[in-house]
Symmetry: C2
Subunit: 278 residues, 2 copies
Amino acid sequence: MTDIKKLSASAPIGVFDSGVGGLTVVNEIISQIPSERIVYFGDTARVPYGGKSKETITMYAEQIVRFLLEQGVKAIVVACNTASAYALDTLEKEIDIPIIGVVKPGAKTAAETTKNGRIGIIGTEGTVGSRIYEQYISRISPASHVVGKACPLFCPLVEEGLLDDPVTDEIARRYLEGMKGSGIDTLILGCTHYPLIRTTIERVMGKDVALVNPAWETAHALKDLLTEEGILNPEAGDADLKKHRFYVSDSAEKFGRFASTVLKYEGISAETVRIEEY
Amino acid sequence: MTDIKKLSASAPIGVFDSGVGGLTVVNEIISQIPSERIVYFGDTARVPYGGKSKETITMYAEQIVRFLLEQGVKAIVVACNTASAYALDTLEKEIDIPIIGVVKPGAKTAAETTKNGRIGIIGTEGTVGSRIYEQYISRISPASHVVGKACPLFCPLVEEGLLDDPVTDEIARRYLEGMKGSGIDTLILGCTHYPLIRTTIERVMGKDVALVNPAWETAHALKDLLTEEGILNPEAGDADLKKHRFYVSDSAEKFGRFASTVLKYEGISAETVRIEEY
């Protein structure tokens, strides 16, 4: 570790995701620590990450981290569950600035939320197959029982805009049937797309199951981390959203339009980066 | 053009796709010209291509073609509609061996099949947005009228195995509603995944609409091309399917299992290639 205290508190925070899903985490960061500047990278040319191997995802994450370091970021948020599950351990060893993923904060909240010790986790094949949420939860609360279920169609359904639709209901019923019968009282939305179909998931699971969205807790954990490290930006938060920067590996125009919708401010422009050269 | 006649007729044929869909084209080639050896590349690390930009897809296709050339192929088949739509023109100028895509053969068959001159094309956003099928069809049959519709959920539904399922029926009804009312008598399955839900599409469109699968016609066009160029492999076709080779950019094991199912022979093993280094 180099002396991270020397890092300028005014440096930006790097946030990355396989595509647009990580913008839900950006939203939380802007809302909780508005003084921070964000450099976002969305790997839109190689999205999705969910069904791909650990080796491939780790290589992609390493390239993105090299790009973000070149932008002078003081900390990195892996705003993608699959990349957090597969690559965070490796990345932590390779860089000397603070880095956090979405899995650990999500696991912590779930362990604190459950009353009966039975927690469900839904996500991509990669995230669920890695059993990473189970590992974190069992460290905090060894007696907990965790049930996982991969939901590969949720992302395409969200991207097709079927957020409140009988087809999404039907698919959710099939995916969550076993989960419902397992007696869980807490369910982690282990993919950044899932909060967008929260209403559907709630309808299927019923009101007695608490839904955990790791995005909120991740922004919170980031604030704590920056404070601990003494690198929280001391400036007052301002409404100048133009200070954030956005990069993608595919079409910048398409991303800019989508980001404007998610982040609810107009005129977001992104820049395309040839990420495989990093 | 170098003298392609010098190319050894016994050299293999390169076939590539964004992932596994191109195996339906491989199946047709094996069945129509069993004497040929195939070197297949599936870009499973960067799949899907359907919603990505022309620039990105062209760059990916160029890398794959460089890899295939290194394997000593005598001809290349772009067994992916999106890559054919976006990159074929560029690739044709860059290499000096014969190269064909799936679009032109599919367009030709559709133009020959229609009786009322009204043709539908379904595919990815990239394929449909490029209007490439319309361009080819209007050259063959200028009076034809072509209706296109992108069906982004069909691929994930096929990959989730919902080949004959009420959800796929419902999505197909929504996508194809406008198509049904447009009076077409011929519909091109403009994505290599779609033949796997042919029954569903047939059920929605009704028996009076002929479905065109470009895979069959592509294998046929390849045979004609090899014959014209004098590089058709003169050996008798044999049952030694082990002669074919498979490469992917992500997990070889996962692909091998899937390919064995599609190609209906056991023990297919693939090899992982770091395609971004090409």
